[in-house]
Amino acid sequence: MLNTSQIKKDFPLFTHHPDLVYLDSAATALKTQGVIDAERAYLEEYSTNVMRGLYPLAETATEKFEMTREKMATFIGAKSSSEIIFTSGTTDALNLVSKLLASQIEKGDTLVTTAMEHHSNFLPWKELAKTKSADLHIVSLTKEGMIDRESLKKSIDEHTKIASFSAVSNVLGTINPVKEIIALIRSINPKTLIVIDAAQAVCHMPMSVSDWDADFVAFSGHKMFGPTGTGILYGKYSLLETLPPVNFGGGMVLDSCAEDTLYKESPYCFEAGTPNIGGMIALGSAIDYIENIGLQNIHLHETTLASYAIEKLKETFGEDISIIGPSKKEKRSGIIAFTLANVHPHDIAGILGEQNICVRAGEHCTTPLHHSLRLSATTRLSLSIYNNENDIDKFISVLKEIQAMFLNK
């Protein structure tokens, strides 16, 4: 396990709230001192625009901004930094890719997604299908909350233009075998473009977009200790170079007066307007921090702690607790959603919150998943590198009080 008392010192939020038990990192991860310092340094010392300036300060800003692109490319196993498009988050990245691919979709084509998706990886495809009179196929899940291979095979055929699924579910905690699923889709229709929502995978386990052989991958910087308003869309260069831009404005154009406007190359043609410069520079610091700890170590820490939490929950609450998602621990990340008898998740989260324990309750932006599970809401804890067994024990002891309060036990 990681040395969490040492790690906590890297997150200034714990200086302000020493007793806080933060179990909501899937919503957003806390920020490291390095990330805060980097953003502050940009704002205080060289808060100039990128790309355009010819004076030294603007050159510094541009250089540091581009450094994050380089680091990010290496971090996720991209072949080059021109495959890294800066966005404001996963949602922005998935909307962007749906717009980039829109011109290729015609009536009668199918788009494929799964029943475990976050609204961000569901609604853009639903809307695209609707505007193009295309069909949207939703792959069903097994009882354990895994992508059902048979349903997947049935959903993919020669009409499938795009298939999009998440690497890790933000509710079930399921780690999808991304590489295998991509290979399976390609074996049925090699032309299908494959989009991966990696929001809950990045920074929780080693991953390589090239090894996956994904066409596009989206994720958020703020879930990997970086600032909010930062995100990435990875795209295979061979595809990006064929796609016309969809957002227009400054910074993405070479010749705007030509009859056929001449645009810059990828990734710049996809990044119109002034970006979140300080945020992206700070995200670079988050990458350094994660690499220093090591993704393998992070994964081991979070999954070991998740197993501990699951065992404790079952041992303490027996029949009253129902944990959704895979039962095999190797198939689970550090995300655990549960119900406690008929106690409403908002009451659970409300009382935990009063005791300084942060969890999330509700549908977690996955209404279709909750409908398929016939649950109106769940309570979710999501783990990160600063969590330890002590956090879990505190959480369990308040949950016991809740059980006594509501179930007279």
Partner: protein, 121 residues
């Protein structure tokens, strides 16, 4: 102060006026879609007086206990009195202040009652 005071827990565990009314003169359903709170209210009005009121539903302790407290409160009141109730009156009934996130749980009962009284069966 915790939101989960004895009054709320008592009304959640032992709800008053739970059930339905076959010969209701006024009924309505309402829900907080984002959190899954659901309420159904049946009311019998005679000569402008709320003679009988019952609720059924599911949801968090705040939404259900406020329905229990509100239905107790409005019985034997006039329709006009019930329709003039404001969010603040609900907070006075449940005796806690609600954060913006929980306000809609507490106010669902009032919304449902007003909806019922504003529409005849």
């Amino acid at each position: 102060m915790s939101l989960y005071q004895d009054l709320i827990l008592d009304h959640y565990r032992n709800p008053r006026n739970q059930g339905t009314l076959k010969n209701a003169t006024h009924s309505a359903d309402a829900a907080n879609l984002s959190c899954g709170d659901k309420l159904h209210i049946d009311i019998i009005v005679k000569n402008d007086i709320i003679e009988e009121v019952k609720f059924s539903g599911s949801g968090c302790a705040i939404s259900q206990s406020s329905a229990s407290l509100l239905t107790e409160h409005i019985r034997k009141h006039t329709v006009k009195q019930a329709l003039s109730l404001e969010p603040k009156d609900i907070l006075d009934l449940i005796l806690v202040t609600l954060s913006p996130a929980r306000l809609k749980c507490g106010l669902l009962s009032l919304e449902t009652v007003k909806k019922a009284l504003n529409q005849e069966k």
